[in-house]
Amino acid sequence: MIRSGEFDGNFVQDVMAEPGGEHLLDCWSCGTCAATCLVRRFDPAFNPRLILRKAGLGLREAVLSSREIWQCSACDACYPRCPKEIHISEVMQAIRTIAIREGYEPPGPFASVDEVICSGCAVCTRSCPYEALARGPVMVNGDERVIAQVDKNLCMHCGVCVAACPSGAMSLEEFNDQEILSRMGSGGWLEQPGYLQGAADAPRILAFVCQWSIRSDAEWAALEALESERLHLVNLPCSGRVDPAMILLALSQGADGVLVAGCHEGECHYKRGTYLGRGKVALLDTVLNQMSIHPGRVRFVELGALTRSALPALLDQMANEIVTASTAAAPAMFSAADGA
C-alpha cells in the first residue's frame, strides 16, 4: 500500500531531467521487459517494470535505496521488445546517477584491484564493458602510483577484467580464479587421463558454460545430468570470463577437449563479454594450430534464445570430431617442413 506521503513529484522530474530518463512516464507497465529479463531468471526479486512503475509514482526513497536498481546489466534484451521503445537500461542508469548524487551506494559484489601487484597497464580498463575501470593515482606503501581503480557505481562483476589482467592483479568476490580452478578439478576430474592419451573410451570434455546462455533451470538441470567421466561442467558469469590459461591447463591434464558456451553476438548479458570470449578462443585456436596440436580440441559455441537445449548435441558433435580426427592419419607431432 503506497501512502500519499511517500509520493515525491520532484523525483519524477529529476529522473526525466537526467539524460536517459526522459521517457520514464511513457511506460505502460505491460511487463514485457520483466518477462524478457535475464536477471530475473536468477533473482525473481528483480523486476524492471516494477522499478519504472515505482519511479513513475515518485517513490524516491524506495527506489533509490533498493538493491534492484544496481542489478540491471544493460544487456538490452528488453529494449527491442518494449512496445513503447523505452531504453530501459538508460532509465536505470539515470536513476543510479541520482542515487550516487544523493549518497546511496551499490551493494556489490564488485571486482577489486590488488594495489601492490597492479602495474597500471590499463588492459583491464580497455576490457571493461561498463567503463568501470580507470587509472588513477593512489598511495601504495608510501609511493604514489597510478593504478587501476574500480568504480563501484558501474561495476557489474562480470569478470571480464579478471580474465584480461595479465598479472593477476584483479579479482572477483565470486567466480575468482581459485574458485574456477578448483571447480575445474573437482572430484579429481582433471587427473583422469584422456582419450587422446589412450586411457579413456571416449573423449573427455570440459565445458565452460556462461550462466546467462542457459535460459531456464530445466535446461541447466538437463545439462547437469550429463556430468560424468566424459563431461565436466564449470559455469561462468560470462564467456568473457574464460581465461586461455585455464583452457591450456585443462588440455595439458585430463581434458581431450574444452568447449566454451557463450551468448550470441548482441545478446551478451554484459554487452561485450561474448565478443571477448569468442575473440580469445579464436586466437587460442590459431595458437594451437600453429603448434600442430590435435585439431578440434577447443571450440566456442554460441547459445541463445533460439538454440535452447542445443548444448548436449554440440558436446556429442565435438567428441565425435575429436575421435574422427584422431583416427584419421595421426597428426604429425610437428607441422610439415614447409608449413609455418
Partner: protein
C-alpha cells in the same frame, strides 16, 4: 691410439672440443675440432615475421648480437626492396662500429689476451681477465672495462641495450639522435680512438717486444696460406656495415668482388657428420678437403683477411697502423694466423675513428630516420662484417613477409675449415717427439683457434645439409696419405 681431449675449449664464445690422437711413436696422428652444440635457428625461424628477425636472430649470439641484428635488418630492407634514409644508414653504421670496437676489445682482453699478456704457461686458475688485472694493475683493468662500458653505452643509447639491441627495422632505425646524444657520442668516439691507440701500444710492448710471442707469430706452427674474404666500400677499403664482398687469393689477386645477393654464386657449404658446423668453401676453387694453398677452396674471413682484401683503411690513424703492420710482416697478404690479433686491434682503431667521424657529422641529428616499406616482400640478402667474419643472412618470405626459408652463413662458420686445420697443425707441430704434454702446451693448441675469435653459438645456429662424407688423412707435412669416402647409398663405410 692414445687420445687427449680438451673439453670444453675455453675463452671463446660457444662450445667446442678438441680430440688429439697420438700414434705409437708419440706423435700426433690427427687432431679433430668438433663443435658439439646446435640450436636450429634456420629451421625455427621459418614462419617468423621478417621484421622480427633482427630481434630473433641476434639470440644466435650474445657476444655479437648487433652483427645478426644488422645483417637481419639489411636483409629485411632487401626483402621489402626499401631504401632507408641516409641518416638511418649513418646511425646504423655508427652503432655498428661501436659494437665492433667493444667486441674486439672483449675478445682481445677477456678471451685471448690472457695467452699473450700472461702467457700460455700461466697457471690456468690465473690465466684470465682477473689474472691480467692482477699482473698489470687495476688501472689497466679499469681502462679496459671503461672502453667496454662506453661502447656498450652507444648501443644502449641507440638500441636500448648492448646485448640484444632493438634499433633496426626494415626501412630505417627506431630512434633518432638528439643534440645531447650527439655530444656524448663524440666524447665516446674520442675515447675509442684513444683506446685503440693504447691497445696497439700494448701490443707492441707486450707481444712484439717478447721474443717467444714474436716467434710464435712468425713461425710455422700457426701458418696457413689461404684465400681471404672481406666487405669493402667503393674504394675497396674495409667497411664493417656495408659494401661488396671481395675475395683475394693466396697471393693477393682479386678473385671476385660481388654484391651480397650474388653470394650463392661464390660460396657453398659441406657437411661432416662429426661436427654440427658446416664447412663453407669457394666455388671458384672447389672443395679439396681440409687443406690450404692456392688450389683449395678453403678461405678465411677474419680481421687478418679483411686487411688482406682492403686497399688501405679509410681513416688516417688506422691507415698508419695498417702500413706499419704490412711493413713489419714483410708482405701482403699476411697468412700468419696469430697476426690476426694485431689486425683485430688495427680494426678496433679504425672502428673508433669511424665512430668519431660519423658522430661529428652535422646530419646525425636529422629526424628523418625511417621509411615505410610499400613493396610486397619476397627475398633478400643482408651482409655485414661481424667482428669474427663475414655474416650473411638470406631470407625468402611469403607475401605477408613471414619467413619460408632462411639461410645463414655466419662469421665463424666461414673459418671452420681453417680452424680445424689450424688446430691440427698446431697440435702436430707442437706436440710429439716425446715432449711432455703440459697444460701450457695444450693451451698453445687452443691459441690456434682463439686467434679466430670464434663464435660457435653463431657457427652452429643452423641445420646441416646432405652430404656424402669424405675423410682425408694427412701426415704432419701436409701430404695426403689416404682418402676415405662414404657413400650411404652403397651401404657400409668405404
Amino acid at each position: 691410439m692414445k687420445r687427449i681431449t680438451i673439453d670444453p675449449v675455453t675463452r671463446l664464445e660457444g662450445h667446442g672440443k678438441i680430440t688429439i690422437f697420438m700414434d705409437d711413436q708419440g706423435d700426433v696422428a690427427n687432431a679433430y675440432f668438433q663443435v658439439p652444440e646446435f640450436r636450429g635457428f634456420e629451421s625455427f625461424c621459418e614462419g617468423r615475421p621478417v621484421e622480427e628477425m633482427a630481434r630473433i636472430t641476434q639470440r644466435i649470439c650474445g657476444v655479437c648480437p648487433m652483427a645478426h641484428h644488422m645483417a637481419a635488418t639489411k636483409a629485411a630492407d632487401a626483402v621489402y626492396g626499401v631504401e632507408p634514409p641516409p641518416n638511418a644508414h649513418r646511425i646504423r653504421e655508427l652503432a655498428y662500429d661501436a659494437f665492433v670496437s667493444g667486441d674486439h676489445a672483449t675478445h682481445f682482453f677477456v678471451l685471448s689476451g690472457p695467452d699473450f699478456i700472461l702467457g700460455p704457461d700461466t697457471d690456468p686458475a690465473q690465466r684470465n681477465i682477473l689474472g691480467i688485472v692482477n699482473k698489470l694493475g687495476v688501472r689497466l683493468g679499469q681502462r679496459v672495462l671503461r672502453h667496454l662500458s662506453e661502447t656498450h653505452e652507444v648501443l644502449s643509447m641507440l638500441g636500448g641495450r648492448f646485448v640484444h639491441p632493438v634499433m633496426g627495422l626494415p626501412g630505417g632505425v627506431a630512434k633518432a639522435v638528439t643534440p645531447e646524444m650527439q655530444r656524448r657520442l663524440i666524447e665516446i668516439g674520442e675515447s675509442m680512438v684513444e683506446f685503440g691507440q693504447f691497445s696497439l701500444e700494448l701490443w707492441r710492448d707486450l707481444v712484439l717486444g717478447n721474443d717467444e710471442f714474436r716467434d710464435m707469430i712468425m713461425g710455422d706452427a700457426y701458418l696457413h696460406r689461404t684465400h681471404s674474404i672481406g666487405l669493402v666500400d667503393a674504394n675497396k677499403q674495409l667497411n664493417f656495415y656495408d659494401g661488396k664482398v671481395r675475395i683475394v687469393d693466396v697471393e693477393g689477386n682479386e678473385v671476385a668482388c660481388y654484391p651480397p645477393h650474388e653470394y650463392l654464386e661464390h660460396v657453398a657449404e659441406r657437411v661432416e657428420p662429426w661436427t654440427y658446423v658446416k664447412f663453407p668453401y669457394l666455388k671458384h676453387f672447389g672443395w679439396q678437403g681440409l687443406t690450404d694453398g692456392m688450389e683449395s677452396g678453403v678461405y678465411r674471413s677474419t680481421p687478418l683477411s679483411r686487411l688482406n682484401v682492403s686497399e688501405g683503411l679509410a681513416t688516417p690513424l688506422a691507415q698508419e697502423a695498417y702500413e706499419e703492420f704490412y711493413a713489419y710482416m714483410g708482405a701482403k697478404p699476411v697468412h700468419a694466423t696469430l697476426a690476426t690479433h694485431w689486425a683485430r686491434l688495427i680494426e678496433m682503431l679504425y672502428a673508433g675513428e669511424r665512430v668519431l667521424e660519423l658522430a661529428r657529422d652535422e646530419a646525425l641529428t636529422d629526424p628523418n630516420i625511417r621509411v615505410i616499406p610499400t613493396e610486397t616482400p619476397r627475398e633478400g640478402v643482408g651482409i655485414v662484417e661481424a667482428p669474427r667474419g663475414l655474416l650473411t643472412h638470406h631470407y625468402v618470405t611469403d607475401e605477408q613477409g613471414l619467413l619460408t626459408r632462411v639461410n645463414l652463413i655466419v662469421g665463424t662458420t666461414n673459418n671452420h675449415a681453417a680452424i680445424c686445420m689450424s688446430i691440427k697443425k698446431a697440435a702436430q707441430t707442437l706436440i710429439g717427439g716425446g715432449k711432455e704434454i703440459t697444460q701450457g702446451l695444450l693451451d698453445r693448441v687452443e691459441m690456434a683457434f682463439r686467434a679466430y675469435d670464434p663464435c660457435f653459438g653463431c657457427a652452429t645456429h643452423a641445420a646441416p645439409g646432405e652430404m656424402d662424407l669424405e675423410v682425408s688423412v694427412y701426415d704432419p707435412s701436409g701430404e695426403l696419405l689416404a682418402q676415405l669416402r662414404r657413400d650411404p647409398s652403397a651401404g657400409g663405410e668405404g
